[in-house]
Every structure is written in structure tokens, then in C-alpha cells.
């Protein structure tokens, strides 16, 4: 019970900070939308080509800008705040879950803002059951990316080059996430089975969650 109370308090605190600064909604999300717009401008209005590359472009933009969201999260807690949370007896795993939970919600919002933009620009030609399936894909990708970003933030927090190392760490690790999400969306477009990709995505999410929660204490101590 204490674990979830602590995790909720951390997530709430992170979300309040985000609402007050508005970094994700007012800066990162519009910037992501502009990037989605720039791609058709750069390659021209070849509709079949845009439809084919659309799913990949969407997830790449979510991934790259999602890392920026995770970066922002890792910057909220400076050394005094990290010491405080240790001295409050806050369970490191609860702190991790709270931070990753807040990042997850922000990423989900970010995905929801970009999805209609990508839909309008790339015409993914999804129909029928593909839309509800896409709604299930969004949280699965956001969940994995939130865990990866938070993990990378914790790993690099004590390094002077920490923030710049996060993209370098997250990008290669997120390749399986990107691959499964892209292939699943492509499968939806072609009305093919996506069960395998969904299972892979879920397995990645659950494995990451387990690794992160189990290593939270060691990560926190190593960062002091």
C-alpha cells in the first residue's frame, strides 16, 4: 500500500511541475508536429510513398521527442531533491515507478497529439478494427519508452555529461520497441496479423519493468 502511495505522490509531483512549465505540451509536442510536417515537404507529395513511410515516421518522431520528455524528467530532481527522497524513506522502486508513470502519461498525451497530425499528413489508410488496435499500441510503446528513458536518466544522473548521454543510451535500446510498433502499425495498414509484434512489445515492456524495479535501489545508490 505504501509503495503505491509513494509512487502516486512522485508521479503527481512530476505532473504538477510539467503542468506549470508546460514544456511537453507547449514546446515538445508542437515541435514534433512540425517535424512530421517537414518530412512531406522535403520528399514531396508522393501519396503512396507517404502512406508507406508514415507509420515509421510517426514512431521515429515519437521516439526522438519522447527521449526529450524523458530528459526533462531526469532534470527535475537535482542532488538535494534526490538526497531528500532517500532520507524520506522513499522506496527507490516506488520513486522509479512514479517517475516512469508520469513520463508514460506525458508520452501518451504526446502520442495522442501527434497521431491525428500524422493521420492527416500521411494517410495511413487504416480501417475498421485497425483504429482500436492502434489505441492499444500507443500505451504499449509509451510504456516501454517511459521505462527506458527513466532508466537512462537514472543511469546517467551523476555524470557531468549525463543529459547528453541519455539519447545515446536510449536510441539503440529502443530499437526493438520501434521495430515492433512500426511493424504492428504496418500490419494494421495491410490488414495482416499483428499478434506476434504485440506479444514482442508486451514482453519488452514487462521485462523492462521488472529490470527497472529490481535495480532501482542499486541505481539510486550508485548515483550518489
Amino acid at each position: 500500500m505504501g509503495f503505491w502511495r509513494q509512487a502516486r505522490a512522485v508521479a503527481r509531483k512530476e505532473l504538477i511541475a510539467e503542468i506549470r512549465t508546460g514544456e511537453v505540451l507547449l514546446i515538445t509536442a508542437p515541435f514534433g508536429a512540425v517535424v512530421l510536417l517537414l518530412i512531406p515537404l522535403a520528399i514531396g507529395t508522393d501519396r503512396p510513398l507517404l502512406t508507406r513511410i508514415g507509420p515509421g515516421m510517426y514512431w521515429v518522431v515519437v521516439l526522438v521527442f519522447g527521449i526529450m520528455v524523458a530528459l526533462r524528467q531526469s532534470a527535475i530532481d537535482g542532488p538535494p531533491q534526490r538526497d531528500l527522497m532517500g532520507l524520506l524513506g522513499l522506496d527507490p522502486a516506488a520513486r522509479f515507478v512514479g517517475q516512469a508513470g508520469a513520463t508514460f502519461l506525458l508520452l501518451l498525451l504526446f502520442e495522442a497529439i501527434l497521431a491525428p497530425v500524422a493521420g492527416a499528413l500521411y494517410d495511413p489508410q487504416l480501417s475498421g478494427w485497425a483504429w482500436p488496435a492502434l489505441l492499444a499500441l500507443l500505451p504499449m510503446f509509451a510504456f516501454g519508452l517511459a521505462l527506458l528513458g527513466t532508466l537512462a536518466g537514472w543511469l546517467t544522473v551523476s555524470l557531468t555529461t549525463g543529459r547528453s548521454l541519455v539519447p545515446l543510451m536510449v536510441t539503440p535500446l529502443s530499437v526493438p520497441l520501434l521495430l515492433s510498433a512500426t511493424q504492428a502499425l504496418e500490419g494494421l495498414r495491410l490488414q495482416a496479423s499483428i499478434t506476434g509484434w504485440i506479444v514482442l512489445l508486451l514482453t519488452l515492456d514487462l521485462t523492462l519493468a521488472l529490470v527497472c524495479v529490481l535495480s532501482a535501489r542499486s541505481l539510486e545508490e550508485a548515483a550518489r
Binding site: 502511495r5 509531483k13 511541475a17 538535494p80 531533491q81 538526497d83 531528500l84 532520507l87 524520506l88
Partner: protein, 220 residues
């Protein structure tokens, strides 16, 4: 009759960061109800010693216990919640209000939210509770940290330059939280450059110099 265990007991404690010795062969015993003053020049190891006492930094040599927990053992994670440290930089979230910061502490530590307003009132922040931390002066931020101490009631209170930049009324709060901790059977370590001000509060005084700790009582 068994003697109560000291709050802090350090023997031959040392800490190296890389090849640089930060603390050397340090011996210190702090009993329950005591207030210890430590002063010394910049870089002499005062803050590092506080972080070791807070169990946030592990020593590299020697032995020691804090609130009965071995500094090298897993028990240190458990006693941490009985320790409060007020450092140079405020441990507050700038985008949150004073009340939200204190309420966060209450939630995480499982204390009643009703005590949040009471704690802020006691440190004179009742009227500013809805103000964001990044809109508060240094003195107000320090008061908010004192409110946190009132809320949590630690067994070990570690104060690093707690008087710095405070008006006389706020500076008196240092004595309030110090007394509160010692009367409950806890102990306080007060690190300061201002030895004269600390003299009125402390029971014993030490000086740090190049990582060594010297008992000033021996010179008296």
C-alpha cells in the same frame, strides 16, 4: 544497566574520492540529546561528513554506526527515514508551492495532511503557503525546510550552514528545531562557519581541517 547506544559512532573513518582523501581517520561519538557543532574552512570535509552521517555517502575505510545501523550494511536504508538534513541548496521542488512541497513529504512519509498547515504556520509561512518555491526568497525556502523538520520529527538532524542568509527571527527557528530534536531524544550536528553563533546552541564543538576532525574541547 546497559548504556543507550550512541546516535552516531565513527571509528577511524575515512573517505577517498578517487585518490583524493576527503575524510581521514575520523573518530566521533554523538550521544542522544547532544548538539555537536562542527566548523572549518571551505573544502575541509564538513559537508562530506554530514553526508556520511546521513548514510548518503559510504565511507571507504574505518567503521561506524548511525542510529544503530552499520554504515556498510543494508540497515542504513531503514534508518534514513529517521534522519533529516538541511544542506546548502534547498531540497524543494521549485515549480511546486510551499504547501505542495510539505504535503509531498507528508504523503510519502505517511503523515497526516492536517499537520502540513500547522508546520507551515509554526515557521511563519502560513500566509505564503500557496506561493511557488521559485517565487520565494532564500529565507522563506529555508523556513519551508524547517517546516519539514517539524513535520517529520527526526532522530538525527544534520544542519549545514543553517543560519546562512536568515533574518534573526528565522535564525531562532534553528534553535527551535534543534531543541525539538534533542528533547525527543535525538541528536543534532550543526555545521557552520559562524562558530560564535553556534556556541550558544552546541554542547561540544569540533573543527575540520583537511579531512581531520579535531575536538575543540581538548584545547579548552
Amino acid at each position: 544497566m546497559t548504556r543507550p547506544q550512541p546516535v552516531i559512532e565513527l571509528h577511524g573513518l575515512g573517505l577517498h574520492i578517487g585518490d583524493t582523501p576527503i575524510l581521514r581517520n575520523l573518530n566521533l561519538t554523538v550521544e542522544a540529546g547532544e548538539v555537536i557543532g562542527i566548523h572549518g574552512g571551505n573544502g575541509s570535509g564538513k559537508t562530506t561528513l554530514l553526508r556520511v552521517a546521513a548514510t548518503l555517502l559510504g565511507p571507504t575505510e574505518g567503521s561506524g554506526t548511525v542510529l544503530g545501523a552499520d554504515l556498510f550494511g543494508d540497515g542504513r536504508f531503514t534508518v534514513r527515514s529517521q534522519i533529516e538534513m538541511i544542506g546548502h541548496a534547498p531540497a524543494l521542488y521549485p515549480q511546486l508551492t510551499l504547501e505542495e512541497n510539505t504535503a509531498f513529504v507528508a504523503t510519502v512519509t505517511g503523515r497526516s495532511q492536517n499537520r502540513v498547515g500547522e508546520a507551515l504556520d509554526k515557521v511563519g509561512l502560513g500566509g505564503a503557503r500557496h506561493r511557488r518555491v521559485d517565487q520565494c526568497s532564500h529565507g522563506m525556502q529555508r523556513r519551508a525546510e524547517f517546516a519539514r523538520v517539524l513535520l517529520t520529527g527526526p532522530d538525527l538532524l544534520l544542519l549545514d550552514e543553517a543560519h546562512a542568509g536568515l533574518d534573526p527571527e528565522a535564525a531562532d527557528l534553528v534553535s527551535v528545531i534543534t531543541n525539538l530534536t534533542t528533547t525527543r531524544g535525538g541528536a543534532v550536528i550543526l555545521v557552520t562557519h559562524d562558530a560564535a553563533r553556534a556556541a550558544a546552541i552546541v554542547d561540544r564543538a569540533y573543527e575540520t581541517e583537511a579531512g581531520h576532525l579535531r575536538d575543540l574541547g581538548e584545547d579548552r
